[in-house]
């Protein structure tokens, strides 16, 4: 059972306090977008074995959504950051690169 630190209230929250929200940093495609764009938004998920950026909500805590970078294989958590971010913070990217030299990088 995972723990993640909520970047808003600082709690090292147990998985039972959290709701998952799947992949982070998806770009929303609305009316006028091509079928390919809409498909990428709606259905195409990375699902890597390794570094993954994902959304979590501190649902039974402060109620805030936040984002987490996590290794889906080892369950190591590299960091969490506010949902109001359009891309992972640079220092987090650097930290992951250092820990996972083979990582292809974000995007």
């Amino acid at each position: 059972m995972l723990t993640l630190q909520c970047p808003y209230c600082g709690v090292q929250a147990d998985e039972t306090e959290l709701s998952p929200g799947y992949e982070a940093h998806l770009k929303r495609f609305g009316p006028g977008s091509t079928p390919e764009e809409f498909e990428s938004y709606m259905f195409a998920r990375k699902n890597p074995k390794g570094v993954h950026f994902e959304r979590w909500r501190h649902a039974y805590g402060c109620g805030k959504w936040f984002l987490a970078a996590r290794d889906t294989n080892t369950l190591e958590v590299f960091g969490t950051y506010p949902a109001q971010s359009s891309a992972p913070p640079a220092d987090l990217i650097a930290k992951i690169k250092q820990k996972r030299p083979d990582w292809e990088g974000y995007k």
Binding site: G30, F38, T74, K99
Partner: protein, 981 residues
């Protein structure tokens, strides 16, 4: 025979007798005994029958690895099946019964399976499941059902209670032997918050039994002072009788404490489940001795060598008068020495190794014990009890050199570190040639959230056996652990012997079965496990797994590390379901949401229906009424007079702020920003795929504020959905949301007399002119502060009245009191459904299932064409959702007036590629309409709205079809005059 010795027994109190029964026979033990030691003290070696062949089974071990001595413990509401006698502490009045025998333990008819052994080989179930089918149904299954199964399941509600406790620590140590105690001392002295768990009632592990020396003290003295020191540390929590069951992600551990198993009915919870979050976990779980595979190794009286010592030293019980010791390592010599020093006879030690010159063999020889190296057991003699062994050369094919009479055999095939907790979360293993065992690979541990090692192993669990090494933190890998792997005895045993060598005692898996599986192509250890059922019994292969995979690897001609192990999964030993449920049973199984009027409903005969965590009245049956009759009465009364509905569960979400209108325009398919203050509007919400997700009436409260009603089940989900978009997509929009569902009670006052009642109560103008349909007003009624909405889910004249929750019950009471003269009656959810279906109103979850769009339901009028964007707009534009052939909402009326089956399909000509009948639609809601006195239904029919008047056929639950005409879904008051009144 097995018997109680005159002297010794470090754990028993000879002055306290404990009377107990086994299969109804009265026996005597002592305080401190386990059930197993007490049975042995009474010469009860035979304790059960094996699963498949019903062979006699005796006690093999002295701890949780025991595969045979499983009993039904207690009776009636305290009956527990499959309890291990070796870990059951004896108490006065204990009742135990053996399992899997019929008609009796001594005479078992199922033993006939034993003679059919060659017809019940590995994969028997798989082979017979396939063919012949008839034989399975009429022959195999009845016989197997009659004779299979271990314990009997309890039939009564558990009389005991169980509880959870949550705990946090820096270091969690599992195992209270020398290694665990030393780890606790180190962490405790460093000021860490420490929890130390020990599964038995006693500290010290093997060292205190084996009389080891630790730091120049006897192990007993060292353990006593270590435990005393730990008890003085405030940062250390000690728990015995507490088994570390499983290690999960990020240092989460479940442990099971047997609080009152040994003192049943004393008022304490029987067991307590610990849910521990630990910074680091130290597994000091020791090692388990392995059996040796020789013919007849399952005959009662054949035991693990160290377990024999346990019985002699801890309980002063001798498993036999004459015990032959057979081994491939030095450790078993300690058993021979212990037996001889207790005055018992050891006719010979058979050592499979060519040489045995370590300190223990030398001590044994000095005591005059006969030691034969290079020898093994060709076969054990005996039926329900060992009578002797035949000796052979280990290197040979089993030619008998000598036969020795004995009544017990103590065997040791070496030790397997208990790596379960290390492995649960992915810790990897390596094969140690020196130890002939899998040990934790410290370079590949399971990881914690920060990437550090989550678990480490110490002591025997890490393959370190010498107390000096354990204390010093070294690993000398000394000669004392010298072992020669022996996976079969003798090495060249022919099939006759191999088919009598048991690997898994409980599930009856033999060496020959694993070899057969390998010949049949089962190369993966995971497949072999399932094919042969090796390691799938309640002991989960604690004794059998390593021996089994060694046999498999030899049969495959591969090395053991290449074959690998099966996956270790929690729990380490079985945990009773009651403990896992804890206090969550009966009324507090889950939280119950109550509306302010809940008690009134209860007192007035409500028949309850669960709606999410809420309970809502389904109907209010009167004396002599069926539920159907009650529903019909409620419908007619509401249509003709006055119905009162507790609608408090309706979701109520306030959306407020400068950008609230813009936000709701994105959320709903229709426009909400242009709703005038004081007005109400029905709205639809879709997910991004364009499928309908929720509906409800929105009221504009003031310039900046809207109140959104959601479905009863949807309030939390929709509030979460709003927050998701506000926090994660449009985070610069100035909008605030609050779920106020439970802050308000809500009552629907429905029917032709609704206005009369409110006018009688008085306090505000509820006339058609002052408060027309689809408007709301704040005011007071009968002195209560209210907000009145003119909205209707029934088609009747209807007021939905919101009132602060604290006034809900009193207001509801007043409506009934004052409404009596107008024929007021409460109505439940089923009446609500009939009323709405008569009007053709959709219900989320009935007409929708996550694949239905508003256009499918004829709700295109509520989907804005003006708005540039809203959630679901792009999804709806997908070509297949615009397909005119889609199933669309219509009404269905059977030609004979009957009620259609819920979920019935409209059948179409022909069959699909799977040979199934083609379909062209399905029923989504179906009821008997008391108003129209016939069955009415709504359904999704292929191209339905263009087929009005056509007759379709719908299937029935009991076969056949029924004809129904496609009609308008609005069955009643099509012009909507009643609601507008």
């Amino acid at each position: 025979m097995s018997t109680r010795l005159q002297k010794g027994g470090r754990l028993i109190d000879r002055s306290t007798r404990a009377e107990f029964t086994f299969n109804g026979r009265r026996l005597i033990g002592h305080a401190g005994d386990t059930l197993a030691s007490a049975l042995l003290a009474n010469d009860q070696m035979l304790v059960g029958r094996s699963f498949k062949y019903h062979r006699p089974r005796g006690i093999v071990a002295a701890g949780p690895e025991e595969p045979n001595a499983l009993v039904n413990l207690g009776r009636a509401d305290r009956l527990e099946p499959n309890q291990r006698a070796t870990t059951t502490e004896l108490y006065a009045g204990l009742e135990a019964a053996s399992q899997n025998h019929w008609p009796s333990l001594d005479f078992d008819i199922g033993v006939v399976n034993n003679y059919l052994a060659r017809f019940l080989p590995a994969g028997f179930y798989y082979k017979t499941f396939i063919h012949p089918r008839a034989a399975w149904k009429h022959l195999f299954e009845p016989i197997i059902r009659q004779s299979a199964g271990l314990g009997s399941a309890p039939k009564e509600t558990d009389a005991d209670r169980y509880e959870f406790v949550y705990a946090f620590c820096d270091v969690l140590i599992i195992g209270g032997g020398i290694a665990g105690l030393q780890a606790a001392l180190t962490a405790g002295q460093a000021g860490k918050r420490v929890i130390l768990l020990e599964q038995t009632a006693h500290w010290g592990g093997r060292a205190v039994v084996d009389g080891d020396t630790v730091e120049n003290e006897s192990a007993e003295e060292w353990v006593t002072s270590a435990v005393d020191a730990l008890k003085t540390m405030e940062n250390v929590t000690l728990r015995n009788r507490c088994m570390g069951a499983g290690v999960y992600d990020h240092g989460y551990v479940l442990a099971n404490e047997r609080l009152a198993d040994h003192t049943p009915g004393d008022g304490r919870p029987k067991q307590r489940v610990w849910r521990i979050r630990a910074g680091h976990i130290i597994s000091a779980t020791g090692a388990i001795e392995r059996p040796l595979s020789f013919a007849g190794n399952d005959i009662p009286g054949v035991m693990l060598a160290a377990s024999v010592r346990d019985y002699v030293v801890n309980y002063a019980v001798s498993p036999g008068d004459r015990t032959v010791v057979v081994t491939n390592n030095d450790d078993a010599y300690l058993t021979a020495i212990t037996l001889v020093e207790a005055g018992l006879s050891v006719p010979v030690v058979l050592d499979a190794r060519a040489q045995a010159d370590g300190p223990l063999p030398s001590r044994a020889r000095a005591l005059g014990i006969r030691v034969e190296t290079g020898r093994g057991i060709a076969s054990v003699k005996g039926g329900k009890r060992v009578t002797g062994v035949q000796i052979c050369l280990q290197a040979g094919e089993g030619a008998v050199m000598e036969e020795i009479a004995c009544d017990a055999v103590a065997m040791s095939g070496g030790w397997s570190p208990v790596v379960h907790l290390w492995s649960h979360c992915g810790g990897k293993l390596i094969w140690s040639e020196t130890l002939s065992a899998f040990v934790p690979d410290s370079a590949r541990p399971p990881l914690n959230h920060d990437g550090s090692a989550m678990v480490s192993c110490v002591g025997a669990a890490a393959g370190v056996y010498d107390p000096a090494d354990i204390i010093a933190g070294t690993d000398s890998d000394g000669a004392a652990t010298a072992i020669v792997p022996v996976w079969m005895m003798p090495q060249g045993a022919p099939i006759g012997l191999r088919s009598k060598m048991w690997l898994d005692y409980q599930n009856d898996v033999k060496v020959s079965d694993v070899q057969l599986a390998a010949r049949e192509g089962y190369e993966s250890v995971e497949h072999t496990k399932r094919y042969t059922t090796l390691g799938m019994a309640t002991d989960q292969g604690k004794l059998s797994n390593i021996n089994g995979l060694a046999v498999l690897s030899q049969a495959l001609g591969a090395e053991i590390p290449q074959v690998g192990t099966t996956t270790f999964r929690p729990p380490y030993t079985p945990v009773t379901i009651g403990a896992l449920a804890g206090e969550a049973r009966g009324e507090i199984f889950q939280p119950l949401r109550r509306t302010p009027m809940h008690d009134w409903h209860d007192q007035n005969g409500a028949y309850w229906e669960p709606v999410g965590l809420w309970r809502r009245p389904y109907c209010y049956p009167r004396a002599g009424e069926t539920h159907d009759q009650a529903v019909q009465r409620e419908v007619i009364n509401t249509r003709e007079k006055l119905g009162l509905l507790d609608a408090s569960t309706l979701g109520k979400i306030i959306v407020k702020g400068p950008d609230a209108g813009r936000f709701l325009d994105m959320l709903y398919t229709n426009m909400m920003s242009n709703l005038a203050v004081g007005k109400c509007r029905y709205g639809l919400m879709c997910n991004e795929q364009g499928f309908l997700s929720d509906d409800g009436v929105v009221a504009r409260i003031d310039e900046d504020t809207w109140l959104c009603h959601t479905t009863s089940g949807g309030a939390d989900r929709i509030h979460g959905w709003m927050e998701d978009w506000l926090q994660c997509e449009w985070w610069d929009w100035k909008v605030y949301t609050a779920n106020v569902t439970e802050q308000y009670a809500q009552v629907a006052v429905v029917g032709p007399n609704a206005r009369k009642l409110l006018e009688k109560i008085g306090g505000m103008d509820v006339s058609k002119e002052a408060l027309p349909f689809m408007q709301w007003a704040d005011g007071s009624l009968g002195g209560f502060p209210v907000r009145v909405y003119r909205i209707s889910f029934s088609g009747e004249l209807s007021y939905e009245i919101a009132i602060p929750a604290s006034h809900g019950a009193a207001f509801w009471d007043m409506l009934h009191r004052e409404g009596a003269e107008f024929g007021a009656m409460p109505y439940g959810t089923e009446c609500l459904h009939v009323l709405r279906a008569e009007k053709g109103f959709i219900m989320i979850g009935d007409e929708t299932d996550g694949t239905v769009t508003p256009l499918d339901l004829g709700l295109g009028w509520a989907v804005s064409k003006k708005k540039a964007d809203f959630l679901g707009k792009r999804g709806m534009e997908r070509t297949y959702l615009a397909d005119p052939e889609r199933w669309k909402l219509v009404g269905l009326e059977t030609l004979d007036g009957s009620v259609l089956s819920d979920g019935a399909y409209a059948v179409a000509p022909g069959t699909n590629e799977n040979g199934q009948r083609n379909t062209e639609g399905r029923v989504t809601s179906t009821y008997y309409s008391p108003t129209l006195k016939k069955g009415i239904a709504m359904g999704l029919i292929k191209n339905g709205p263009d087929r009005m008047g056509e007759v379709v056929e719908l299937n029935k639950v009991d076969g056949g079809t029924v004809k129904a005409r496609i009609v308008d879904a609005v069955f009643f008051d099509k012009e909507g005059e009643k609601g507008n009144a």
